[in-house]
């Protein structure tokens, strides 16, 4: 357990908000700038994920750099249909990722099952049946811009998360990266 998590657990029981806010700001600033995805490409959405990470769409300008090793990554991008046969492998890779970790469900197949929703004996209808999904991106497949927008939404989520479990705070904290008055959770200036 990381030291910030220990601190967060200690502060769970109604401790001083001022200290927590500063620690939150530091933790969120360090976590939210550069989310490295684990590209869990199980079907055709992986092509868009690959396109998003190469030079034309350039994922790297968001600090997002796909790594093939779950132990290097913060966010699992579920790109493609997940079958019952694949489900244990996806779960295992998710379990291998270090905390804190997030999940982006990319494409219709991972949101409700997509075109495989009806009459299927082999497809998992919705990745949220076995993983805690944070951001859903619809589309069949979504364009690379949609995926990048999903990552920006996730960054917003990460930056408003409190290390104290289950709590959220307004967007704007002490550290740079967030312009004053942007506390509504809207547009992030790159």
């Amino acid at each position: 357990m990381a030291i910030v998590d220990k601190l967060g657990a200690a502060l769970d029981n109604g401790a001083a908000g001022a200290i927590l806010t500063s620690v939150d700001a530091l933790a969120d600033w360090s976590r939210g700038q550069s989310l490295w995805p684990m590209p869990m490409g199980t079907a055709c959405c992986a092509m868009e994920l690959i396109a998003a990470s190469f030079s034309k769409f350039d994922f790297d300008r968001l600090g997002t750099f796909p790594r093939p090793d779950p132990r290097h990554t913060d966010v699992m991008v579920l790109a493609g249909t997940i079958t019952e046969k694949m489900k244990p492998a996806v779960k295992r890779l998710y379990d291998q990722m270090p905390d804190p970790k997030w999940v982006v469900a990319m494409g219709n197949c991972t949101v409700p099952g997509g075109i495989f929703y009806y009459d299927t004996y082999s497809v998992v209808r919705g990745a949220d049946s076995f993983l805690p999904v944070d951001v859903y991106i619809s589309g069949c497949p979504p364009r690379p811009e949609a995926l990048q927008d999903g990552i920006l939404q996730l960054r917003e989520l990460v930056r408003t998360e409190s290390i104290s479990r289950g709590k959220r705070h307004a967007r704007n904290l002490l550290l740079p990266g967030a312009p004053a008055g942007a506390s509504d959770g809207g547009g992030d200036a790159e």
């Binding site: 009806y118 299927t120 004996y121 082999s122 209808r125």
Partner: protein, 153 residues
């Protein structure tokens, strides 16, 4: 090699198989009964059909049709071998010893249609989870966990 030439060559190379040769929708087909399948396969391999491209099956209701697609480099041609299998007793000889490529292909047919290939070295499911119940490409397959498509979609 076109189909007439193939038929001619087949009657030259293998008079035993020639009566089973036919044309279906512009494809060359050798239709045999399931107990003759293994010797037919050996014969076809002997005369030059050295590549097994595909194994699949069709559920026709009263029977299952097992379909093999063979290709030949020496004859520059391809043909289908078809055989009928009873759905109640779905046993047929494995062609693994003739074409090793049959290994995974027959596992797939076993997985989805439930046809048992006698003599197969490792007949397990290949596409579906090991604990899956039933053979889903059979017409009579039903799974209560499936959500049925409504009529209006």
């Amino acid at each position: 090699m076109n189909l007439d030439e193939l038929q001619h060559r087949l009657s030259e190379l293998s008079p035993v198989l020639a009566p089973f040769f036919s044309l279906e929708f512009g494809d060359a087909v050798v239709g045999v009964s399931s107990d003759k399948l293994l010797e037919t396969a050996r014969e076809l391999r002997e005369i030059g059909f050295d590549r097994l491209g595909m194994v699949t099956a069709v559920d026709r209701g009263e029977f299952l049709t097992l379909v093999y697609r063979l290709q030949s480099r020496s004859l520059s041609s391809a043909l289908f071998v078809k055989t009928k299998v009873s759905p109640a007793e779905p046993h047929v000889a494995s062609l693994f010893e003739v074409w090793p490529a049959a290994n995974w292909q027959e596992r797939e047919v076993f997985d989805l249609f439930g046809i048992v290939f006698d003599g197969h070295p490792d007949l397990r499911r290949i596409m579906l989870p090991d604990d899956f119940d039933g053979h889903p490409l059979r017409k009579d397959y039903d799974n209560p966990a499936m959500i049925r498509r409504p009529d209006y979609i």
